[in-house]
């Protein structure tokens, strides 16, 4: 692994973001809107239902966590799509970069993109709604880390599809998160799902992350097993996504997708 090459690719996206005010605005705008909207919904439910009576920030906290996941996944896909849209894809893949270096660079850049959007939105929640996500304490870090890994995993899976099938796979890139959201039990306990959906939900790390966030906020206790399960499933999916990416890269070299991607 070459840090210089990883930094070089990071720099390409850093220049792109910092050169354009609309791009920075776009990164901040959606999380802020999303979190403000969920803040008001959260306040409404907190005063009209018994379930959330003692935990005003449950919905809003889950909305922030979900938004972080969403931004990480979409951010990773955007970085990959950016190379296709700018017809720079071929230049990138004829540069002496290892696949691991490309992925590492995109993983770091996606984190920075997500944080640019998330930090201002999180800072708004305290003065606007009197809620601080920091109430999750040290476990907030593990929940964010788990979501970040899953977001990156989804990003790598979609990028594998782009490599394998070409730009026509782009629409899938935008819809993966929406497909998984109902199974993630972001805003409701897993018991809400029909039994067959619960079985699917239990093989995704999301349900453990959001169940644990609610557990900490509502019951003021920590169930380490949830965090552990989330990491185990994450490790499995992340490994599979890396294997699939390498497989797709080799398949693209056989099918000629790499050479046609920029045209």
């Amino acid at each position: 692994m070459s840090l210089t090459r990883i930094y070089g690719l990071f720099l390409r996206h850093f220049y792109l973001i910092t050169r354009s005010f609309p791009r920075i605005l776009d990164l901040v705008y959606w999380p802020t809107i999303q979190i403000t909207l969920w803040g008001f919904i959260s306040n409404f439910f907190a005063t009209h239902t018994t379930y959330y009576n003692n935990a005003v920030g449950v919905i809003l906290t889950c909305a922030i966590l979900y938004d972080f996941l969403f931004r990480t996944s979409i951010g990773f896909n955007m970085l990959f799509l950016e190379e296709i849209w700018s017809r720079n894809f071929t230049n990138l893949f004829i540069a002496p970069m290892k696949i691991g270096e490309i992925l590492t660079s995109l993983v770091i850049t996606a984190l920075i993109r997500s944080l640019i959007g998330l930090v201002p939105a999180v800072l708004l929640t305290s003065p606007l709604f009197g809620i601080s996500i920091l109430e999750l304490g040290i476990f907030l870090f593990f929940l964010f880390l788990s979501l970040y890994i899953f977001g990156i995993t989804l990003g790598i899976l979609v990028s594998s599809g782009l490599l394998r099938f070409g730009p026509s796979f782009e629409n899938i890139a935008w819809s993966t998160m929406f497909l998984l959201a109902p199974f993630g039990c972001i805003y409701y306990p897993i018991e809400t799902l029909p039994e067959v959906f619960q079985k699917i939900a239990y093989i995704l790390p999301l349900v453990y992350i959001f169940e644990e966030a609610r557990n900490i906020l509502i019951n003021q206790t920590v169930d380490i097993e949830n965090i552990y399960n989330a990491f185990i499933w994450n490790a499995l999916y992340f490994t599979l996504s890396i294997i699939l990416f390498y497989y797709s890269f080799n398949a693209a070299k056989n099918r000629g997708t790499l050479i046609n991607m920029g045209e």
């Binding site: 090459r5 220049y15 017809r87 894809f89 071929t90 004829i94 002496p96 050479i259 045209e263």
Partner: protein
């Protein structure tokens, strides 16, 4: 002279379609080899295989005596490519783009390299310009600077002067001639501009339907086919329903 590019009987099939049917050729140090052929003849597929973007169905490619399939990164460090069909990120300035690619190729003394290339390619005054806002002639010179950022020993050129006005086209051709002479690099040039090929190339490969149907120096081919210039040879070979079809 040492062969920097050695292509040994490479084939590329897409399913049942044979895009390249077992071609072999070498490019020596300090040589520009022309790759000619009508659209769909297999030129781009051949270049794609040399760049490691396509995996040959069979055969072998060696760059500077290293097998491409085993030494992809080492080989990519010593080659580069320019084509009108690929672009540099449009929103970045010229200098930012060159800086990014200098890092990807782990260039030492980046500032000096950019300074040298911008001087040689007359893009010094463009360094702070947005790449997407340049004219096609300016973009072409910037792409050439990117292609030379790593001081490649092997340069692959796919229609390097397409859509350029005669003055810029001539500038690029003169630059390439001088650069090749100075650095002793190997160049594979795919082009539809026959006067360019005649001027730059020591020898030429004619491709059609995935095969090399003829090869030689431009003068030899003109004499052999009883024509007055390379364009007429090209037309004769590409229109003929030859024994190679």
């Amino acid at each position: 002279m040492k062969n920097l590019i050695e292509v040994k009987n490479i084939k590329k099939n897409y399913g049942k379609k044979e895009a390249v049917k077992g071609i072999s050729f070498n490019v020596q140090e300090n040589e520009i080899l022309g790759l000619l052929g009508p659209n769909g003849s297999g030129k781009t597929t051949t270049i794609g295989m040399l760049l490691g973007l396509l995996k040959p169905t069979s055969g072998q490619i060696l760059i500077n005596n290293l097998k491409l399939e085993n030494h992809r990164i080492e080989i990519l460090e010593m080659i580069n490519f320019i084509s009108p069909y690929i672009e540099l990120p449009k929103k970045l300035t010229v200098k930012q783009n060159l800086n990014v690619y200098a890092k990807l190729y782990k260039v030492q003394n980046i500032e000096e390299r950019i300074e040298y290339l911008s001087e040689k390619l007359r893009i010094k005054e463009l360094l702070d310009s947005i790449t997407g806002e340049l004219s096609s002639g300016q973009k072409n010179r910037v792409s050439l600077a990117k292609a030379l950022i790593n001081e490649p020993r092997v340069l692959l050129l796919d229609e390097p002067t397409a859509s350029l006005d005669p003055e810029v086209g001539d500038f690029v051709r003169t630059f390439l001639e001088e650069y090749k002479k100075e650095k002793k690099i190997s160049v594979l040039l795919a082009s539809h501009n026959m006067s360019e090929v005649t001027r730059l190339c020591k020898s030429v490969l004619m491709m059609k339907n995935g095969e090399i149907i003829d090869q030689g120096t431009p003068d030899d081919l003109i004499t052999k086919h009883g024509r007055t210039n390379l364009e007429e040879v090209f037309l004769k070979l590409s229109r003929s329903k030859s024994e190679f079809n």
